[in-house]
Symmetry: C2
Subunit: 334 residues, 2 copies
DNA sequence: TTGAAAGCGCTACCAC
DNA sequence: GTGGTAGCGCTTTCAA
């Protein structure tokens, strides 16, 4: 900057003001300084600027990978969400600092917050880190979590209405005549737990009692889900439908079912959750509960910037929409 | 930090040294200071540290989205690569600053470089930005690009052997008895261009002349690819195989072919490129050319850190492996 | 409208 | 082994 000051024959203060577009500097001089800077390829040093201004114009996006130990970011859901978040954050002129963490990691959040690397933190999915989130939110405001709200929770969440979404999906399967519906996913994760509640609610609402309830607590990785479904099929458990806690494992389940010589949806109907881009393009195309990640990401970022400027917006729940495609089949006749 | 110094009854210098684990500070005092810092929840301020040290311990990862205007990060390939990169970078104790750019954007790279936000830059895919990369690499060393090397190029690339990979895939289709093989992708992008060359090489190597050559310059988005394939099918062009430039569009093509009442692989064989996680789990499972992104990402990061410490490692080309699954079918009999 | 000077929080040089 | 001090590059008072 002092170089540019020398070039322009003014002080560094003036260059700083000019580059910031301050009207304190005469328009003509300002334009001249900007031209000089551009020609010299000069760009303000972000680190120094940040130190002085006590902010970073950067948001940390944290992805906790609960069960995907040492795995790369593989779930399309995270990725799509990340993409939308990156868009929304970039649009506000902020940078995105990506943090992948594999719990349990102890002090990751407090350390991240205290390091001053970012002005705010977004956590995609509570994973198994509810306690940590709770603790940090007690003193750190600019924190927003994608996931499920819970009764006694002090941190701000944004998430889809998991319970209602799941309930709609399962009710649809019941309406189509399916009788033995497997819940495929691990309810110990907060969001999946709510989906499980929706599943139970749907089963309880039917007048005709269902013959069995199954739950297969598969983790959210394709290989895991494939293996779990293969095992279920070998156990000779009778079922004619699967409600999967995510599209990714739904697609793996379909693959496993097909490999076992059964047909989807004829023998077994499958419904997923998320509506990732692939759901529409898999074969058969996947009936699923749509989470609007575009709106979700924008809501997260809105909430975060609101908190950044002192606001206290409440947690948000987005509505879930059932998208009917091929994998649930048509109504069965008796 | 001065707070901790006061607490410990020493100077800030000593705290700084202790927290850095310097052996200049007596072990006992060092441990005491560390304990105090932990209890106080004190973490060194990264911005100040970076300014002082003239480095950021951060790597920018840039994803240029050529044709996916205003779209979120949607391609699983980018996402998987990003995940592996994040792993490799994190392992070295560096942060990942994510930058999504939609060309043409003019000075994005020079500005990014000059802003000092990161110590190095990784660009995933050349997209349409070859010129920009070339220009910046003339003065900025810590830049590594995933993509295709070209003859007169001064920037460092790491990429799969696109030509050989594509050639193997197409040769396999020919060996299986397929005669009219469509190239599905846009060869104007450097990497796709090389894959197209491999396609041509395979066609030229056959003794039995092929009856036709087709190229459908579909962009790399699923919707685009689906539409392009649907249109091709409507045009009544005769073809019995498709070599798609990416798995993502291969899967869309399969979807379109199936929707049009034809069977994959019976009527039309399909081969993709990338071997994204989904390729093994789609239905039918996808024959494809595997790019080893784990190795690729590690190579990129190795190269980058080499350059960071003054090295000048050459561009790297990784071998491509043909993964045979269901979508290419078995050998046709005559 | 401009410049001088202070200071953001840290590390590393120098002296003790 | 330890403390004082300078300075990383910037923005912003304060004074002119």
């Amino acid at each position: 900057m002092s170089d540019i000051a020398a070039l322009a024959g003014v002080s560094a203060s003036t260059v700083s003001r000019a580059l910031a577009g301050s009207s304190l500097v005469a328009k003509k001089k300002r334009d001249e300084i900007m031209r000089l800077a551009r020609e010299a390829g000069y760009v303000v040093n972000t680190t120094a600027r940040n130190l002085r201004l006590q902010r970073t114009e950067t948001i940390s996006v944290v992805i906790p990978l609960a069960h995907e130990v040492s795995q790369p970011l593989t779930d399309p859901f995270f990725v799509e969400m990340l993409g939308y978040l990156a868009d929304a954050i970039t649009q506000r002129g902020y940078g995105v600092l990506l943090q992948k963490i594999v719990p349990p990691m102890g002090d990751w959040l407090p350390n991240l917050v205290a390091s001053g690397r970012s002005d705010g933190v977004i956590v995609i999915g509570q994973s198994t880190e509810h306690q940590v989130l709770e603790a940090v939110s007690a003193y750190y405001r600019p924190l927003v979590v994608w996931g499920a709200p819970s009764v006694a929770q002090s941190y701000c969440t944004v998430g889809t209405d998991n319970t209602v979404g799941a309930q709609r999906a399962v009710e649809h399967l019941i309406r189509l005549g399916r009788k033995r519906i497997v819940f495929f996913g691990d309810p110990s994760l907060p969001e999946i737990g709510l989906r499980y509640e929706g599943y139970l609610a749907a089963l309880e609402n039917t007048s005709r009692p269902l013959e069995a309830r199954h739950i297969v607590p598969a983790h959210l990785t394709p290989d895991n889900a494939y293996a779990a479904m293969t095992e279920l099929l070998q156990q000779n458990v009778a079922f004619d439908a699967v409600f999967a806690a995510s599209d990714l494992i739904a697609i793996s389940a379909i693959q496993a079912i097909t490999a076992a010589g059964k047909s989807v949806p004829k023998d077994i109907a499958v419904v997923g959750f998320d509506d990732i881009a692939l759901a529409a393009h898999s074969n058969p195309s996947l009936t699923t509960v749509r989470q609007d990640l575009d709106v979700g990401a924008r809501t997260i970022v809105d909430r975060l910037f609101d908190r950044l400027s002192g606001g206290e917006g409440p947690s948000a729940t987005l509505s879930a929409e059932l998208i009917i495609r091929e994998s649930c089949g048509a109504k069965l006749s008796y």
